[in-house]
């Protein structure tokens, strides 16, 4: 092979490899996604005013999904079963003082678990009601 041909072959190989690497990056690199589950979290406050949060998440449990919901603020007491939610969006339900609490529902059924262990599946509709 003469030098000109060799140079052409080598340069073509280099250019082809750059293209192949570029394709590998384009098609196979990890891409950020907005999460694979679409759920809604509806909060009904003490004035029975409803606010709905739409969340696209990969969260396994409700607490993480609630943390990802923009505009939803909550806090509570950490215990051995996870967080006992006491305050949502600045409104505190104090069972000992007034007998009120935040009730959690999933698809209109009472949640069997706390926020740390309540599973999240695609399409779930959560409702948190001041009762």
């Amino acid at each position: 092979m003469n030098r000109k041909k060799l140079t052409a072959v080598v340069l073509t190989l280099l250019a082809a490899l750059v293209v192949v690497f570029g394709c590998i990056f384009f098609f196979l690199s990890a891409k950020p996604t907005g999460g694979s589950k679409r759920i809604t979290i509806e909060v009904v406050n003490m004035e029975e005013k409803s606010t709905v949060y739409k969340v696209q998440t990969d969260a396994e449990f409700l607490r993480q999904a609630m943390e990802e919901a923009k505009g939803l603020e909550f806090s509570g007491t950490e215990g051995s079963y996870g967080m006992m939610v006491e305050t949502i969006n600045g409104e505190t339900a104090d069972y000992n003082a007034t007998g009120n609490y935040w009730a959690f529902y999933v698809n209109d059924k009472y949640c069997n678990y706390g926020v740390d262990s309540q599973p999240v599946t695609d399409g779930d509709q959560f409702k948190i009601v001041y009762e």
């Binding site: 280099l14 750059v18 990890a30």
Partner: protein, 173 residues
């Protein structure tokens, strides 16, 4: 000792100067990500000084480790740079600046892939591949940078080296 493989005080000074040139060039271009002259100098020094480059590479790697700390990247350096020197030594008869630019470009493009093998040992195959793929855009920058720098600098620098080292080192031997 075989005179061909003996090391003189002048050689030691020359080797020190080579490491200094590589480090100074590296520092000068550190603001440009993945644009480096280390590949260029290691290839040129291999062509000019032959087997004596085998002493420069460990010295350079050691200095790098002392300056920047010996992390995982340092393990990569232990085999990546010697591999480049080996390839350059095997191709030492080649004189085309375009082909040397291609060699340097190939090295830049494959740099991430070669380095990723450390993650095969410390992690697993998936870790290795994910790490390599994530860095491909920078490998392409590395490839282009190496290609252009070698293409532009090879002829003038080799001409200067031949002039300076005439009778002292056997270029291409």
């Amino acid at each position: 000792m075989n005179k061909r493989f003996s090391i003189t005080a002048k050689d030691i000074v020359t080797l020190g100067a080579m490491v200094a040139i590589i480090e100074a060039s590296k520092a000068a271009l550190s603001f440009l990500p993945n644009i480096e002259l280390t590949s260029f100098w290691l290839i040129v020094f291999t062509l000019v000084f032959g087997w004596k480059i085998a002493l420069v590479v460990p010295a350079f790697i050691l200095v790098e480790g002392l300056i920047y700390g010996m992390g995982l990247w340092w393990i990569m350096y232990l085999y990546v740079w010697p591999l480049l020197v080996l390839v350059a030594w095997l191709l030492r008869k080649m004189e085309s600046s375009v082909l040397w630019a291609a060699v340097s470009g190939f090295f830049g493009l494959l740099f991430g892939f070669l380095c990723s093998f450390v993650y095969l040992v410390t992690g697993n195959f998936e870790t290795q591949i994910a790490w390599w793929i994530a860095g491909i855009p920078w490998d392409i920058v590395h490839c282009i940078g190496n290609f252009v720098l070698m293409l532009v600098l090879y002829k003038p620098v080799m001409a200067a080296m031949k002039k300076l080292c005439v009778g002292k080192y056997s270029i291409g031997s």
